[in-house]
């Protein structure tokens, strides 16, 4: 009898506080599994954000540091420069990375900091109760856009992966989704490669993961995955934008 799948050793025994069906849990697993498979869990320092994943430091079985809202790439920069032999990652949501922390992530990429960033994009502010985020789709209803996001008033949603891919210091940029088991496997491959980018000293690496927020979208977890497929993927195309191995 062989084990096909079991809970990763990269996660602690603490149960996640996330809502039922929230894909933060899936993404946590992928990061933890990647660190274990690369054999670097003991040498990893993670940086937790502000947002739904603010308690991520309770869940990863490695050293963790909490950062102020949006400042995870700056904190990760400091840790990596003091401990260049450690693997350092920042785990951030879209309110954290694409709004209040845009400057930090853009400049961390611009400086070519050798850190790995996991960017969870669920097109809404989850923790604070479902307000419009920079990543909220046009027409999407939130508590601060009850008639749907108005392009004339708020513009179109920001595409962080494409934006960061224009920066030379960013050596690995990919957008993935966790809506199906097949896409989850692809997402893990990308996250693993983003850590390899750091291990090889190439430069800044980021993986944008399209995620769901069943509670604030007002959908069941299964319907939320469908909504992601039907609405988010057409606007946020999946794929690689920069890869250190292919020189793009």
């Amino acid at each position: 009898m062989t084990i096909v799948y079991e809970k990763s050793k990269g996660l602690t025994d603490t149960p996640f506080h996330y809502c039922p069906g929230c894909t933060h849990g899936v993404i946590h697993k992928l990061v933890a599994e990647s660190l274990v498979e690369l054999g670097v869990l003991e040498d990893t320092i993670g940086v937790a954000p502000v947002g739904c994943s603010v308690l991520a430091y309770n869940y990863f079985n490695c050293d963790m540091q909490e950062a102020a809202h949006g400042r995870a790439p700056a904190v990760a920069t400091g840790i990596k420069r003091v401990h260049p032999d450690k693997v350092v990652f920042a785990y951030q949501g879209d309110g954290d990375l694409a709004s209040i922390g845009t400057a930090e992530v853009v400049h961390a990429a611009h400086r070519g900091e050798k850190i790995t960033t996991i960017f969870v994009n669920n097109a809404i502010y989850g923790m604070t109760g479902g307000q419009m985020a920079p990543t909220t789709l046009v027409g999407q209803k939130t508590t601060t856009s009850p008639m749907g996001r108005d392009e004339a008033l708020s513009g179109k949603p920001i595409r962080m992966a494409e934006l960061l891919a224009t920066i030379d210091g960013a050596k690995f940029v990919e957008r993935v989704s966790v809506d199906t088991p097949a896409n989850i496997r692809k997402a893990k491959k990308a996250i693993k490669k983003a850590f390899e980018c750091q291990l090889k000293g190439e430069g800044f690496a980021i993986v944008e993961v399209l995620s769901t927020c069943p509670t604030n979208w007002g959908l069941t977890p299964v319907n939320a995955l469908e909504w992601l497929r039907d609405n988010m993927i057409p606007y946020y195309p999946l794929g690689n934008f920069r890869d250190f191995e292919e020189g793009k």
Binding site: M1, Y5, E6, S8, P15, T180, P181
Partner: protein, 71 residues
């Protein structure tokens, strides 16, 4: 076809049904006769012998509730 065995840590399940939605052989459902410590009806397997050990349910589970073994 490979045979498998799936085990659910039912106390950790939040009843989100993502595992139910991805099982290719449709052998998972929520156990409506039980409520776990968190207040949810946990997922369980109804026809273990039909499991093909694909691991899809476990990969999809956000709370690492499921262990899959290949027999």
């Amino acid at each position: 076809m490979a045979k498998g065995k799936v085990t659910f840590n039912e106390d950790a399940c939040k009843g989100c049904e993502l595992c139910v939605s991805v099982c290719p052989v449709k052998i998972i459902e929520l156990n409506k006769e039980r409520i776990n410590g968190k207040g949810y009806c946990p997922a369980h397997v109804i026809e273990q012998e039909k499991c093909i050990a694909c691991g899809s349910c476990a990969i999809m589970c956000p709370d690492s509730v499921i262990t899959v073994e290949r027999l």
